[in-house]
Amino acid sequence: YKTFEGNLKWDHNDITYRILNYSPDMEESLIDDAFARAFKVWSDVTPLTFTRLYDGTADIMVSFGRKDHGDPYPFDGKDGLLAHAYPPGEGMQGDAHFDDDEFWTLGTGPVVKTRFGNAGGAMCQFPFIFQGKSYSSCTTEGRSDNMLWCATTADFDKDELYGFCPSEYLYTIGGNSDGAPCKFPFVFLGESYDSCTTEGRDDGYRWCATTKNFDTDKKYGFCPNRDTAVIGGNAEGEPCHFPFTFMKKTYYSCTSDGRGDGKLWCATTENYDKDMHWGFCPDQGYSLFLVAAHEFGHALGLEHTDVREALMFPMYDYIKDFSLHSDDIQGIQKLYGSKSGTLPPNTTVVTPVTTEDPMETTPSPTPGLPTQQPIDPSQDACKAEKFDCITEIQGDLHLFKNGKYWRLSSQKDGEINGPYSISDTWPALPPTIDSAFQDLLTKKLYVFSGRRFWVYTGMNVLGPRSLEKLGLPSNIMRVEGALQRGRSKVLLFSGENYWRLDVKAQVIDKGYPRLIDLTFGGVPVDAHDVFLYNGNIYFCRDRFYWRMNSRRQVDRVGYLKYDVLKCP
């Protein structure tokens, strides 16, 4: 392995990243997932953590671009250069760029995630059988509205599971229309357009208006690529037109004729000789996950290695079951140490100096609850990486972790008291608490742990009872967050869903569960704590929080430790 000259590395372990735009080749959630998995490759073997930001400047800014894309190293069209990244540092340093003239997949051909239909957004299954005929791409067969669809199992005739394929009729990417579909025809600079266009742009991205008139409404989005769309050329995103004429000969499939590099191409109109519209035919594509993992290696401080099997080797090679090579592990651990906390040689460790004697802190008990003394003053809430549960009880924020809890005083300017023992205050509760809320009307405290819950009224306890008693489904393993909504309604979060509990009637309201990301856009779907504090909703993942205001806008992403607990 090699590191950059001077062993360039980040001076902090909590690295942030931001995805600036998306490729039209894959659905956004798949791209998000590929990047997240690529970061995990490195966080699995180091103490590094990666948190995604949705605005502002992140350490690693990730983007797709074509040819000249704003830095001194232009891309080169399809194949050849796939991506590049800069070593750690300020500004453009640390950023990773991906060539959008490549066909980005997971390495084994088009990745088509469906929307709507009855398959819950599953991937297309190619080939699939429909009315006895085999299909290897999305089709409009069997529909009168010209919408592309695919089966999500091998046999639609048997399973009848299907979804709609990406197209501009279904949604757009980026822009300013929140994913609204294209509106055809639309007017742009006085001219009418019946399809997506690259007019008005110099980066080759296809776009459309999402209202009838762009000139007046200025609403637009970028068009997702169909699975049959050509890559690069001068007709990116258009489907092949078969048959087409090339040098007076008729072609019924992609060809390498006319090229010296053997790449397959097709015309996107009937006659190439006349229109000269063309692009490369979709192939296996490049695994965004593998390329991103390599680029993020650069962004963390690794140079190219000459170990052929290592991730940091400069050439692309598809690997089905990827695991990080020992050469890569040694390289990254030289810079950041190992996951268990072993530090690299020659690293100076500065131990934080406590200036205040923790024994001198005067704990104030949770009002209305038995008075408890701190059990282990050396345990500082500021040293906790994350908490099992955070909730507001009697106006104070309570933070639970491993059988203990701390109380953030609302009276004494955010003073942190504790830790206290959970079993001393609430003897019936287990040491690990997933979520809790205090009913505003009755002041009863509801506490959830695994598939059970308890209800405390002062010192009296009811429970444990099964989650199903509240009307929650049996497949829920835990309740990860609870939010008061009004005086007798509470939202309970688990996985990607939430339910609304009528506390008074002790039942789940009709119409639930609902998807978290449909109601609470822009927050992590894998938040392990959700709580209400000072009128804002906080979604926590690891040590970070996403704050959502009353207008359901994420107005801040930050560190729980510094922003909420006010740790030094």
């Binding site: 069209g77 796939l82 991506a83 040098m247 090229r259 010296g260 590099d261 190219h304 400069p314």
Partner: protein, 89 residues
């Protein structure tokens, strides 16, 4: 059937790939990825320094170190790859 087919190559509009010779392509590659120091590069198309650079490239890519622009080397250069340079100071 007896007539040999002569392939016809066309220039596709918008295609960045140019009709560079292998030698031109290799020189561009060696410069771009840090194998040749542009400042001190000889004006000769395939000089001693190029042969040295090719050997270094071949070593890095696990190829036979011939110092020649052979088929295996040019094929390796045309493989999809990362745009970050292989060799720095």
């Amino acid at each position: 059937w007896g007539r040999s087919l002569k392939p016809v190559f066309v220039t596709f509009p918008g295609d960045i790939a140019t009709n560079m010779t292998n030698e031109e392509f290799a020189n561009t590659y060696l410069e771009r990825f840090g194998y040749i120091n542009v400042q001190h590069r000889s004006r000769m198309p395939m000089s001693t320094s190029t042969a040295k650079a090719l050997r270094q490239l071949q070593r890095n890519l696990g190829l036979e170190q011939t110092g020649q622009l052979d088929a295996a080397t040019i094929n390796a250069m045309k493989m999809p790859r990362c745009g970050v340079v292989d060799v720095r100071n």
